[in-house]
Amino acid sequence: MFKRVINDAIADVVFDFEGAKITARSGESVAAALLADDLLSFRQTPVKDLARGPFCMMGVCFDCLMVIDGQPNRQACQVVATSGMKVARQHGAAELNIDQADPA
């Protein structure tokens, strides 16, 4: 599993992942924080319902898609974790109606 070999950033960000509290370093992505917490599988694919997780960590592969603050299909490697965020795995295709919150 991933471990912190450099630990110089302040761990002051706390977000919610499917009910669990995850601590993230200031400025790091949702994907990095979850990988550090030993989560590898971020979603189930829409075609064959197979598990996928972060792959490129630079925003080009779209395999780390998650539901973040009610918005489906967000790239977890591109979203900086902030306190109070609600994060969940993406199951299959995006649901249009779950998008209640209106993130600016």
Binding site: P46, Q71, A93, A94, L96, N97, D99
Partner: protein, 367 residues
């Protein structure tokens, strides 16, 4: 030396593939000559509606021809599935045209009654008020005042339709020859000799189904083909969980879950770029119709060129000076695919177009 065929279809788009499949289905030894990978392909920009309620308003001949194809679609798509195992995602839950204000609604009432008057009750539709619309499509937005519903309408994946027709064609012994842009067609004995950039062919019958390319090809067989490009732009979203039970004129959810949104008409020649300004207009209308689409993510936009005739109706002709040569042009390659394969191809095989197509000859433009 040249390879010899019973029939050559020039153009491997939706029209050419349907005709090619129809001819192979008649037992003809047939080839489809097509261009390369980046030809201007109307087929790739198709929206995928099998649509009756907007076609042939004021033109009964076209309304009949369209209705005939829609009626053949269930049999046609089942036949393709049986032959190829490819599911074209065809379904006909009926279709809806959305009106965003009273003016659009009144206009629609008039159009639907015109269409009804053409077909002696064969065309069925209902005008729906806002409440009735919401019963069918709960995701509609507050601006929607009403619309029209017709049970004849449906949709299909234009890409899988094309793939299945080509697969069935190849399985029946047909050959698809890419990178074979036709340069010359000559009368030769009882048939024709055809020269492309790469090869020579001879054939008893030839069908020109090359879309906008027909304009240059038709004179080679003594016909005219006054077609011009009209650009249509389309937006497609990521896959979404099902939310739209039936197709509408401007938005439909595909079998894969993506949402296709169109449509625009720009009369600007050969140009298939997607322009941000037009896309914005399309997105706006979609959002007014279905506010829930606001958060859907667009993955692709594109423009493709429609094949437009002077009056918007298809053109079908057979050459008088060079019997055995046919031309066909239309912008409804999806809706008319069933009839092209099951009816029109028979006419070509018989060497004689059906009488119902007389009114769709290019001669209608001679005044």
């Amino acid at each position: 030396m040249s390879t010899s065929y019973d029939a050559i279809v020039v153009g491997g788009g939706l029209l050419g593939s349907a005709v090619g499949y129809g001819l192979a289905r008649q037992g003809l030894r047939c080839t489809i000559l097509d261009e390369g990978d980046v030809a201007y392909r109307a087929a790739r920009g198709n929206f995928g509606l099998v649509w009756v309620q907007s076609k042939g308003i004021g033109k009964p001949i076209y309304a009949d021809w369209t209705m005939g194809s829609a009626e053949r679609y269930p049999e046609f798509s089942t036949e393709l599935l049986d032959r190829t195992g490819i599911d074209t995602s065809y379904s006909a839950p009926g279709g809806i045209h959305i009106c965003l204000n009273d003016e659009e609604y009144e206009d629609r009432v008039e159009k639907m009654s015109t269409l009804t008057s053409h077909q002696n009750g064969r065309f069925k539709h209902e005008m729906l008020d806002r409440k009735a619309m919401l019963e069918r499509l709960p995701a509609l937005g507050p601006e929607v005042v009403g619309g029209s519903y017709s049970p004849h309408d449906g949709h299909v994946s234009p890409l899988y339709l094309m793939r299945s027709m080509q697969r069935a064609f190849v399985d029946l012994g047909g050959e698809i020859k890419n990178d074979n842009r036709v340069l010359d067609i000559q009368k030769s004995g009882d048939g024709f000799s055809v020269r492309t950039a790469n090869e020579n062919f001879s054939t008893a019958r030839i069908v020109l189904a090359a879309g906008l390319g027909n304009k240059a090809l038709a004179p080679m067989v003594g016909l005219e083909q006054p077609v011009r490009p009209v650009k249509g732009q389309i937006i497609v979203t990521e896959r979404q969980a099902p939310f739209l039970d039936m197709p509408t004129t401007h938005a439909r959810q595909t079998g894969e879950g993506t949402i296709m949104i169109g449509d625009s008409h720009e009369d600007i020649g050969f140009d298939i770029r997607s322009t941000p300004q037009v896309m914005q207009t399309i997105a706006n209308r979609a959002r007014r119709s279905f506010p829930v689409l606001s958060k859907a993510k667009i993955v692709r936009t594109w423009g493709a060129l429609r094949v437009m005739t002077p009056d918007g109706l298809p053109i079908y002709d057979q050459s008088e000076t060079m019997p055995g040569a046919f031309t066909a042009a239309c912008h409804s390659g999806v809706t008319l695919a069933a009839t092209h394969a099951m009816v029109y191809a028979k006419y070509v095989a018989d060497g004689q177009l059906g009488r119902e197509l007389e009114g769709l000859s290019v001669r209608r433009f001679d005044v």
